[in-house]
Symmetry: D3
Subunit: 164 residues, 6 copies
């Protein structure tokens, strides 16, 4: 018997990838055979890292996770999910404030494509307060963020953000 679903898409900004994101990927891999981590083009949010930089960081960070591919996409997330012949979209839910925005976005996405289902997963408790935004703020203030992101990401953050 073939699995009903073997592929899921995990879209996001990943600016930069955190241990929270990686935790979600690892959890999703226990349920689905293949996870496509997809970096959104969102220049209007003034990301710190370019799309190719974010893709590269994700590839490095997921190198040892079998079943993960990293990609980027432009346009609606649901359109990308369809294009990859998947119909599951994964989102991590943190303890703070995510929920209402995520709910609204998932309902909007469903309006665009009723066949794509959003699944919400919960990161490990220790990462449930991690926010890329706070991490960037802390790094800019010379805070040591190596307990929030992989070491090579921490280094890149410092290079980009610390005013010398």
């Amino acid at each position: 018997m073939k699995p009903k679903v073997s592929r899921a898409v995990y879209p996001g900004s990943f600016d930069p990838v955190t241990y929270g994101h990686l935790d979600i990927v690892a959890r999703a891999l226990r349920i689905f055979d293949e996870i496509i981590v997809a970096v959104a083009h969102n220049e209007e949010k003034h990301p710190v890292f370019t799309v190719p930089e974010r893709v590269e960081m994700l590839k490095e960070a997921t190198r040892e996770m079998a079943g993960v591919t990293v990609d980027d996409f432009d346009g609606l997330a649901v359109a990308y999910v369809r294009q990859k012949k998947a119909h599951v979209l994964i989102r991590g839910l943190r303890a703070v404030s995510d929920f209402e925005y995520e709910f609204q976005m998932a309902l909007t996405n469903r309006q665009f494509d009723k066949e794509v289902e959003t699944l919400f997963m919960m990161p490990s408790q220790e990462y449930s307060f991690l926010s890329s935004k706070l991490i960037k703020e802390a790094a800019a203030l010379r805070g040591d963020v190596s307990s929030f992101v992989p070491p090579f990401v921490a280094k890149l953050l410092t290079q980009k953000l610390v005013r010398s």
Copy 2:
């Protein structure tokens, strides 16, 4: 290739089953081959329907959904998930107030069994405000609840709750 996961458990009170619950079951069936809808023994909450009544209603309501089985369980939900050789626990998230409680319960469950993953799914928007509690209150006040629950459930609710 075997599916990584083909079975998921959807535990709850189902006192009584609503169109919102049935919507979640249908959505979950598009992802998993088998859904076990599991009625919790929760006498301390003074349910309106007994466990056998709730199991019976669910069986009737899911009769035409291939891949659904209905069961009941005592003890921790995660222990039941394990016993059924599954490792996915499904919960529906409504627009109101569920999230914090669900998050807390999912973290507690994870503490009891790290291998069981909770997946949150979102019912159709028209059901995102449905609450078994409000439905019971309305039925007790002679409100017509047939747009919230299947007709035979509405009838049973009236029999149980309307003071004659």
Copy 3:
């Protein structure tokens, strides 16, 4: 030209009436000619005061407000609104936690009667944290609640709740 709406219903438990409720009535009277304050029969919530006692307290407390009538009702609030030939139902919104429950209830009510519109009003800031429940708890612990409810209500609360 006749007013489109001249009558509104303000349903609730009023167990007991607080300065927050009275503030909402006064505000509603500036918009509508007639406000019917309607006490719900809700024995399942084990109210401290009986329906006749609550009606009596409301009558006393609104005695000098022209345009207010006090009544009680059994059944759905929207059915009562219709029966009184009104189509506006007023609810006060406090700063804490009310909103999601009120939203859910208003949507449920709309399902029962699409012609009845719920209007939410905001009490004065000093009353935006008042809760009948906390007031009852405080009175039972011999707290002086006379800044939250009219003096005669404070007295009745003490009579009912303080263990002698």
Copy 4:
């Protein structure tokens, strides 16, 4: 007998008008004789449409609703309400996240003018997750937003936002 209130003001950004806004206008018209939909000057938010464009869209969208006038205003909303000899300010409440901000703004407004009362109304459930912001994001990504806004607005959004 003259109506106590026959005129209410519904201020907002309307960048652009959505079916949710129009639903609120229609509901308000069942209670008040005259609704003034008032577009706020808010250049600091970098609106997609100019004030005259937003006024024009609202006029077109409310053309068949008797009792609606469309205007724009600079300065405080409560000052505008007064200037129009009204004392009711209408705000729509969506299911997500609006409430706290709306509550805070309504209390601030009350500080500026105690005579102006804010009434909160609830859009139809199908519009309770609509957000002008998400609609603009979706349109920019070539999403079809015609189930969220009138067709002519969808067309204008595409003209403004889609990078050719």
Copy 5:
């Protein structure tokens, strides 16, 4: 120079004491010389443990913390704080749902005694989702709660709650 404040009261139900409560006590001890942990009489909440049992458990659990005394009180918490010649009341804030209730209670307390100040402290992240209620539910279902409460408390919970 004498300290401005050397004594703080930490009131609560403690039914039963959890690692989260003990974490708050330890943190408070770094700021204040003396912490009085005060068990509220709240029979109306049908606690699992009696007041003397809860006092005993707290004494045992804080035995090695210098500066802690355990007591119980009837009546308003602020009245008790005053009676102990303190003017600081400590409350722990968890990640979920506590805040609005705590805010409301603190404002109510301030109404009763303007001199008593409520300080909110945050437990360690690993305890930020602990809830005495969920722990009791889990223990009743034979869940192993020894990562949430001290071993002797887990044992007592099992004795009280597990239906044999």
Copy 6:
């Protein structure tokens, strides 16, 4: 006996200082001997007032409060707390929306320095909805903000914000 803690740091943007901030300072002074009000350098938020301007306003506004010093800091707040040989960081909690962000920030801060404890205090109810952001918006629209901020701050706000 020496006080355990006699110094606390109250960091923030203070753009500009409001009566809510001053209320927190006064409350904190009843518990600690010395409060350092510390203005954060946060150019990325495009503050209306420069750091020296904000420091000056705070000095003027706290002139008659014994035990208050005003300073500014660059970098992480917890690093500044340490540098001042304090280990308590004070934050005010308003009724709206603050909590989740504050909780997240406090947990992040704790990650950077486990010895610094965040204490949350509650402003007087009349200030619990004050927001520097809303005050700036109102001042820009020529609203009279003198019930929210000291008169000299209101005057400076008008000078900076009103388009002449």
